[in-house]
């Protein structure tokens, strides 16, 4: 849920990175954090287990600049990908303005991807959102690995809505900012429309 503050001239929006366990959601945020100037970002918070698996969420506040005198701020969140953290995923989707689905391109993770998209659809609908309408982009991550499915196949299985999609290698940053910019753009366009 966006927050528009006339007093401080700010637009605040929430973007959630969703996807199966170990698909690279946290790595996306870590790359954004590492490559953003200090004045444009806040502290990155990771609520993770001792083995660095996301336990509740990662959080990164980001300023993207000004539109007509309004500072635009985006709060980026990841969800825990592991199946049994579903209760936490539902909580993090509350008030979301845009979603990035991070898919693991490896053939053996295809079922996990499909399961996670379906889980996203269900959890969004429980919050009153429709995956077919919400600002949404898909990222095919881990394109550098040898055993990946083709983009055509990933597109066919994971992107029936034909939303913007990006190939990515999150640790080196390939596709990371393209994905973020696109979802931010969709969110602002939706807000302008009065969504």
């Amino acid at each position: 849920m966006s927050f528009i503050n006339y007093s401080s001239r700010e637009i605040n929006c929430k973007i959630v990175y969703y996807g199966p366990g170990l698909c690279g959601k946290t790595t996306n945020l870590q790359y954004v954090y590492a490559r953003t100037s200090p004045e444009a970002k806040g502290k990155m918070i990771s609520l993770a287990t001792e083995t660095e698996r996301t336990l509740f969420f990662d959080f990164l506040p980001l300023s993207l600049g000004e539109i007509r005198g309004f500072k635009t701020r985006f709060h980026l969140y990841t969800v825990p990908g592991q199946v049994f953290y579903d209760a936490s995923r539902k909580l993090i989707l509350k008030g979301v303005d845009g979603v990035v689905f991070v898919a693991d391109s490896q053939i053996e993770r295809m079922e996990a991807n499909l399961e996670s998209v379906e889980n996203l659809r269900i959890n969004l609908s429980e919050q009153g959102y429709d995956l077919n309408r919400i600002p949404y982009v898909v990222q095919y991550n881990k394109r550098d690995l040898p055993n990946v499915a083709t983009v055509d196949e990933l597109h066919r299985l994971l992107n029936p809505r034909k939303v913007p999609e990006f190939q990515a290698v999150a640790p080196t940053g390939v596709g990371v900012f393209d994905t973020l910019k696109q979802v931010a753009k969709l969110v602002l366009t939706e807000l302008k429309r009065g969504g």
């Binding site: 918070i45 709060h75 509350k94 602002l188 009065g194």
Partner: protein
């Protein structure tokens, strides 16, 4: 999509005033107000030394998690919670079902006084948020972002 929260100058001044007064009346160190989705609405007291953005996000996460726990045991939510530290303590309470009022305090005051002052401030804040909701829902209220063009959005990402 949910239209989100819009804060206007007039209501913001009133909310800030209530938070300032609560800080003084409860002898608190910091008071801040966060929406349930983690956006900071207002802060008062010695907030300049604190990372209020992170505090807001973690507050929302905490309240959401406690809300989830409440539902599991058959409660609708826990309207307030208190965390006591060695030096600093945090009191959080849900106002009007939508926002969270957070008070950070130390041994200069007491939980009893904080609770008492929070109750009064909560009633006043709840009325202002009702007023805001009515204002936002009133027919003919312009979309604050309607004047933004596609070019404005593109320009944001051209750098």
């Amino acid at each position: 999509m949910n239209p989100g929260l819009v804060m206007y100058e007039e209501e913001f001044r009133k909310i800030s005033g209530i938070c300032d007064r609560l800080t003084r009346d409860a002898s608190a160190k910091v008071v801040f107000l966060v929406d349930k989705n983690g956006q900071l609405i207002a802060a008062a007291g010695q907030s300049q030394d604190l990372d209020t953005t992170s505090l807001a996000s973690l507050t929302a996460g905490n309240v959401a998690a406690m809300g989830g726990l409440a539902k599991l045991i058959g409660e609708s939510e826990f309207p307030s919670q208190f965390h006591e530290g060695a030096h600093e303590s945090i009191h959080m309470s849900i106002v009007g079902g939508k926002v969270v009022l957070v008070v950070i305090f130390d041994s200069k005051t007491s939980l009893g006084l904080v609770r008492l002052r929070v109750r009064k401030a909560s009633d006043e804040l709840a009325r202002i948020f009702e007023q805001l909701a009515r204002r936002q829902a009133a027919p003919g209220t312009p979309n604050p972002l309607a004047e933004i063009t596609d070019d404005d959005i593109d320009n944001l990402f051209s750098a």
